[in-house]
Symmetry: C2
Subunit: 384 residues, 2 copies
C-alpha cells in the first residue's frame, strides 16, 4: 500500500489521479490532498478518499473544511502546500498544482527523499538547476507525469543514457495548427481553449495553442534527462497517439503510444518500475485509428518553441523568465487584455530585458520569477 | 573485439551483417562464414574479411576455395555448418541460413553457450520446444535478428515479462495487400516477388506475400518470448516503419521504429545490451514520412496467419509441419507447378493429415520436417 499526497487534487491531473486510485484502492491510499478555490469538489474528494491532511487555497474553504472534519489536519495557502510536501507518511507526492507554487513543495519533498510524480512543468523549467543539484544530495526521485516526458522516460528504458542520440517530443500542434500569422492575429480566447485531443486546464490549453507548452517541455526534457538542446526535437503529430520518442545512436527509435489519457502516465509514476492493470485504463484500438501523420513545427508562426530553445540555451534564470512571462501573457490573453500573438511579444521582450543570473537557491528562482512577472506585467512593454 | 561467425554470409542478411562489420572493424571480427552456392561472392568476402573458417554448400566451391586459401579451414555442406556452430573462438553466431539446416548449427552453438543472433525462422518454429529446453540447460542466449522480433525484444525492455498484455507484430501486408481471393487466383511468381518495403530473398518475399511469413513470426514470437497465442496480434502496417510493439498491462504501448533496414536489428543482436553508432545506419526522417496506417489482416484471403495460429496452438510437431509444408509449397509456386492460393491448400492439407508428436530431440524435429515435406510433395495432395 502506497500513501499518495496529491497537490492539486481538484484540477485535471488531480481528478485523473483520483480516478486511478479509485480503481486501485488495494494499492494506493490518499494520505493528503490540496485544492485551490474549488472547495466543494475538495469536500467530495475528502468524503470519498478520507485523507489525513488537507490544504486549501482560500480562507472560505479552510473554515468550511475545518468545521466539517474535526479529525482532519487542515492547512491553508502556499504554507499549506509546503506542509504537505514535508509529510513523513507520504510515499509518493503528485505535484499537480500549476505555476510556481509547486516548486516549494517539491523542494520539501526532495529533502524528505520522496518519490515525486511531477506534473508541474514550472518546477524543472524555472528551478531545474536547483532541483538537479538537490537530487545529487538527496535520494529523492522524480518521475515525470506529463504524457510526453513519461513517454520519454519509458522509451529511455530501451537503451543507456549515453546511447541517446535524440529525444523527439511530439506535439499535437494545438488548436491553430496550420494557421498563418495573419489568421492568428484575431483569434479569440474561446477559439484557443478548444484542444483537439486532450482535455486540460485553461492555462495549459492556451499554452498548447501557442506551442509554449512544447517550449516548456523542451526545457523540462533538458533538465529531467540531461540531454543537450541540440538533441531535443519537437515533431508535430496531430493525432497525439505517439506520446514521444527516443532515437538511439544505432538509429533505433523507441516510442511510447496509447490513447491520449493522463491516467496512464499518472499511474506509471506511481507504480514505476512496475506496471499494473487498472480497469479505468483504455487500450488503444489500432483499427479505429486514423492515419498517423508528422510535420515540422511552423516556427515562423508559432514562436513558443524557438523562444524556449533560446531561453534554455542561455540557461540559468532565463527559463524561469520565459515561464513567468508566459504565465503573465496567458493571463492577459484570457482576460482579453492582449491579442494572441502578443503572448510571444511579451515573452520575447521580457527575455530581452532580463539580466541573467544563477538559480541555485529558491530565493534566486523566486527573484527571477518575480522580476519577469513584473516586467511582463508592465503595460508599456506590450503596447510598444 | 567480438568474433562473429556468419552462417549464410552470401544471403541478404549475411551481406547486411558484413556491411555492419565493414564499418565497425574495431568492434567485430569475422572468424567464420558460410555460403551455399554463390562461391564467387564468398571468395570476395573471404578476401575482404579474412576468416579462419569457411563452409560452402557445393563440391565445386569447396575445391576452389580449398585451392586458393591454403591457410583456411574449409568445410562443406550441412556437416560444415555444424562445424561452424561448434567453434570455441566464436563470440556471436549469426544464423542467417534459411530453412531447416540452420537448426543443427544453432543446437551446436547452444551447447557451446554462445550468443546466437537468430535470423533463421525455422529454428524456433520447427524446433522451439527443443531449443527452449536446451536454453534451460545451457547458458546460451538467443537475440532475434528478424526486424519484428528485434523490435519486440527492444520494446520488452519497457516493462517486465509478466506485465505484457499483448505483442503486436506489424505486417506490411505484402505485395498483394487489398487483393480479393478472385484476384489472387492467377497472380504470378514475378508479381509475388515484388516487395514494397524490404529487399529480401525469394523464399521470404513469397512468404511475405502469402503472410506465411507473419504466421512463422507469430509462432517464433510465442517460442522466443513465452507469450500465449491469445496475446499475440498481427497488425497490418503497410509502411513498415513501426517494426512491432508491446502493449503492457497498463495499456502503455512501447514500439520500435526506424527505416526498414536489417542492419539495425543485426547490429543490435551483436551489441546488446549496448547500442553503438555505425556510419552505415540511416536515421528515420519523419518529415519525409508518408502517413502511417494500420489495418486488420484479411484472414479470409490471406490464410497464412490463421493457419500458423492453428499450428501453434496444436503445438508439438505441428509448427514444424506448417513450416516444411510451406517451404515445399513455395518451391512449387516458384517453379510454377502450382498457383498462389494452392500454397495455403498444401499447408492445410498437410497439417490435416499430420499425426502430431513431440519435438524434443533433433531426430523428432527432422522426422516431422521430413514427413511434412514428403506429404506436401505428393502430387495427389494438391491436385485434389
Amino acid at each position: 500500500m502506497k500513501n499518495i499526497t496529491i497537490l492539486g487534487s481538484t484540477g485535471s491531473i488531480g481528478t485523473n489521479a483520483l480516478e486511478v486510485i479509485r480503481n486501485k484502492r488495494e494499492e494506493f491510499n490518499v494520505i493528503a490532498m490540496s485544492g485551490h478555490g474549488n472547495y466543494k469538489l475538495l469536500l467530495e474528494q475528502i468524503e470519498e478518499f478520507n485523507p489525513k491532511y488537507v490544504s486549501i487555497g482560500t480562507e472560505e474553504g479552510y473554515k468550511i473544511i475545518k468545521e466539517r472534519y474535526s479529525n482532519l489536519e487542515v492547512y491553508i495557502g502556499n504554507e499549506g502546500l509546503k506542509k504537505l510536501g514535508q509529510l513523513d507518511e507520504t510515499d509518493i507526492i503528485l505535484t499537480a498544482v500549476s505555476g510556481a507554487v509547486g516548486i516549494e513543495a517539491t523542494i520539501e519533498a526532495i529533502k524528505k527523499e520522496k518519490r515525486i510524480a511531477l506534473a508541474n512543468k514550472e518546477t524543472m523549467v524555472a528551478a531545474g538547476d536547483l532541483i538537479n543539484n538537490m537530487l545529487k544530495e538527496y535520494k529523492a526521485e522524480i518521475i515525470p507525469v506529463d504524457s510526453e516526458h513519461s513517454a520519454i522516460y519509458q522509451s529511455l528504458l530501451g537503451g543507456k543514457r549515453e546511447e541517446v542520440k535524440k529525444i523527439i517530443i511530439t506535439a499535437s500542434g494545438g488548436t491553430f495548427r496550420g494557421k498563418t500569422l495573419e489568421e492568428l492575429r484575431e483569434v479569440s480566447v474561446e477559439q484557443a481553449l478548444k484542444h483537439p485531443n486532450w482535455s486540460m486546464g485553461r492555462k495549459i490549453t492556451i499554452d498548447s495553442s501557442t506551442l509554449c507548452n512544447k517550449g516548456l517541455e523542451v526545457i523540462e526534457a533538458h533538465q529531467l534527462f540531461g540531454v543537450d538542446y541540440d538533441e531535443i526535437e519537437v515533431l508535430v503529430h496531430p493525432q497525439s497517439i505517439i506520446h514521444s520518442m527516443v532515437e538511439f545512436n544505432d538509429m533505433s527509435i523507441i516510442a511510447q503510444l496509447g490513447v491520449p489519457d493522463m491516467k496512464v502516465p499518472i499511474q506509471y509514476a506511481f507504480t514505476y518500475p512496475n506496471r499494473v492493470e487498472n480497469s479505468c485504463l483504455e487500450s488503444l484500438d489500432f483499427r479505429k485509428l486514423s492515419n498517423l501523420t508528422f510535420d515540422e513545427v511552423d516556427n515562423k508562426v508559432f514562436k513558443g518553441v524557438e523562444l524556449a530553445y533560446k531561453a534554455g540555451r542561455i540557461g540559468r534564470s532565463m527559463p524561469a523568465v520565459y515561464n513567468a512571462a508566459n504565465e503573465v501573457a496567458v493571463d492577459k490573453f484570457i482576460n482579453k487584455e492582449i491579442k494572441f500573438l502578443e503572448i510571444y511579444e511579451i515573452i520575447e521582450k521580457t527575455m530581452d530585458a532580463h539580466e541573467v543570473h544563477d538559480v541555485l537557491t529558491l530565493e534566486e528562482v523566486i527573484r527571477a520569477d518575480k522580476w519577469a512577472r513584473k516586467e511582463a506585467g508592465r503595460k508599456k512593454l506590450w503596447e510598444n
